[in-house]
């Protein structure tokens, strides 16, 4: 009689021999892959962001409320910033998660630090998304346009 011993990485290992308890599934592998895929896209998004905001025309002197209004009037830049926000935040959060796992040796400390990390990430992603989609180039308070806005005459 011959017993078949599956290769350890075949994914066909009997449940009692799996090291991750089965519940985490492929999460770490997906996270590893995500770091690489998001990294490639982020190079384009961030280099483009820095080039358009700092290198072109008057560079940093040109940045003010009107500059942002001009960019976000165009769905192209809205989408650009949205993708950059989500990818950079998820990539950065996952990176910092790895670092916490590396250095925080006590289970309690680790859990606590990661709770703070995830809470901060959710708040920043939601805030940034809300800002892009609810941006108003001509904010009005009590019927009076705020100074510096971009109001139709």
């Amino acid at each position: 009689m011959t017993a078949t011993i599956e290769s350890p990485r075949s994914g066909r290992v009997a449940p009692q021999y799996r090291r991750n308890g089965g519940s985490r599934g492929n999460f770490e592998m997906i996270a590893w892959l995500f770091m690489r895929l998001s990294g490639v896209v982020l190079v384009v998004l961030i280099f483009g962001h820095l080039f358009v905001n700092l290198m072109v025309g008057e560079g940093i002197h040109a940045i003010d409320f009107g500059f942002v209004a001009g960019k976000w009037a165009d769905p192209f830049w809205q989408f650009w910033d949205l993708a950059m926000l989500w990818l950079a935040m998820l990539h950065g959060t996952n990176g910092v998660r790895t670092i916490i796992n590396d250095y925080a040796e006590k289970t309690g400390t680790r859990r606590w630090l990661k709770t703070v990390l995830y809470a901060a990430a959710v708040v920043i992603i939601l805030l940034g998304t809300m800002v892009i989609f609810t941006f108003n180039p001509c904010p009005v308070v009590d019927g009076v346009a705020l100074p510096g806005g971009f109001c139709p005459a």
Binding site: R36, G39, V40, L42, V43, I46, F47, L50, L54, M55, E58, G59, I60, H61, I63, D64, F65, G66, V68, L85, A88, M89, G92, T93, G95, V96, I99, A120, I124, L127, G128, M130, V131, T134, F135, N136, P139, L146, P147, G148, G149
Partner: protein
């Protein structure tokens, strides 16, 4: 105390230091990004609030800070592409050291070009 290991391929060599640099720059960029989304969110408060906070980015000292930030990002980006090449390219592991020198060379060229343009805009009167 552990004794000093002899002849390791990784510890104390290029591979380890590029990892240290990658880790530190990653954390720096992450914390910058948290603050950056907060300062950008002031466009929802009022045009003047946003213009005031952005004004802080325009002083000469901040110009140096921005250059440092961009140096961190460009290193992380180029070295990140090197890590990806090590993982996915057949010969990546073999050439990891040469790729690190390429990363550093490209990094210096990019930062020189960026600094010349950014600092002359930011410091060069207006």
């Amino acid at each position: 105390m552990p004794t000093k290991p002899a002849g390791t391929l990784y510890r104390g060599r290029e591979g380890m230091w590029s990892w240290v640099g990658h880790r530190i720059t990653g954390v720096v960029i992450f914390f910058f990004l948290l603050v950056h989304v907060l300062d950008t969110s002031l466009v929802r408060v009022s045009p003047e609030a946003y213009t005031a906070v952005i004004g802080a980015y325009k002083n000469p000292l901040m110009a140096l800070g921005e250059t440092g930030l961009v140096a961190a990002i460009v290193f992380h980006a180029f070295n990140g592409l090197r890590i990806i090449a090590v993982d996915f390219w057949k010969k990546g592991a073999k050439y990891q050291r040469q790729m690190l020198w390429a990363v550093l060379a490209l990094w210096i060229v990019t930062i020189l070009a960026f600094s010349i343009r950014h600092l002359s805009l930011a410091l060069g009167g207006h």
